[in-house]
């Protein structure tokens, strides 16, 4: 089941539709399925020293989030409990239910120059920030001419 972090974002939905149509007609899709979208939403950037990953995952208990790095494959997994009242509670009425709930997992392949021992993660204001340091040997440097 696919559910975006922003189900009301029309442009994102059109983007998803286009992507799904392209993937449906692709004879050899990626082994890990959908490459974009889902929960949490990811933004990735880089500096010459590190790779910065921002996962927009609001409402999680940081202790329950699993961040694993195995042979260059980074996995972010966890569960977001539903905050809706249970079905037995007949006194409460749910008018809008758009927020994601349930288990989630996102997997991404890091670049080869990332140092597996230099990965740190922090959680602030509902954003999981993962910093992966690049190897010293892979960093750009100026070569002196003798």
């Amino acid at each position: 089941m696919y559910r975006s972090l922003f189900p009301r974002d029309v442009l994102a939905e059109l983007d998803r539709l286009q992507r799904e149509m392209r993937e449906a007609s692709d004879l050899s899709p990626s082994i890990r399925g959908v490459g974009r979208g889902g929960f949490p939403a990811l933004n990735i950037g880089g500096t010459p020293q590190s790779v910065e990953i921002f996962a927009f995952a609001p409402g999680l208990d940081p202790a329950t989030v699993e961040v694993n790095l195995d042979r260059g494959v980074l996995t972010i997994a966890g569960e977001r409990p539903s905050s809706l009242p249970s079905d037995r509670d007949d006194k409460a009425a749910v008018h809008i239910s758009e927020r994601f709930s349930g288990r989630f997992r996102r997997v991404l392949t890091l670049a080869d120059d990332v140092d597996p021992n230099g990965v740190a993660a922090s959680y602030r204001d509902g954003v999981l920030h993962i910093t992966a340091k690049r190897r010293e040997s892979a960093q750009p440097r100026r070569i002196a001419i003798q």
Binding site: F6, T47, A57, P58, I96, F104, D125
Partner: protein, 137 residues
């Protein structure tokens, strides 16, 4: 819900991210945060996902019967960062709701925790359910 994303310099999202940082900020463009709205006997509870919005960049406004939720994403990023891939392309959230008459906008309480805003809008005293005693003469 498995998926993979290669961290590549020329990722498909790089264009959007680059265009966004170059273009002049458009005040109107904002993401619509997903919400849950639950009503019980004494009021309405609204939860909205606003990841990356710190408390000081969140604006809640009630004007007559209109509730506006506005937030700006404020994530500290390292210097010289170059975006390569972005699913959250606009660093702003905005959503407007129309309140109904029986709600009491003067008693709205709000809490922001881990990027989730919880709003409690109680119903006005006169709109609370009351049990009417039947008198037998």
């Amino acid at each position: 819900m498995n998926d993979s994303t290669a961290v590549a310099r020329n990722a498909p999202g790089a264009r959007a991210a680059a265009a966004q940082s170059e273009a002049a900020p458009r005040a109107e463009t904002a993401l619509i945060p997903p919400v849950d709205v639950i009503e019980d006997a004494t009021g309405i509870t609204l939860r909205a996902d606003l990841p990356g919005v710190p408390k000081d960049k969140l604006t809640l406004q009630v004007e007559s019967d209109t509730l506006t939720i506005e937030g700006e994403v404020g994530i500290p990023t390292p210097e010289g960062i170059e975006p390569t891939y972005a699913e959250v392309s606009v660093p702003r959230f905005r959503r407007v709701f129309t309140l109904s008459k029986e709600l009491d906008p003067g008693k709205v309480s709000a809490e922001l925790k881990h990027g989730v805003l919880t709003l409690r809008i109680p119903k006005a005293e006169h709109a609370q359910p009351r049990r009417i005693d039947v008198r037998v003469d």
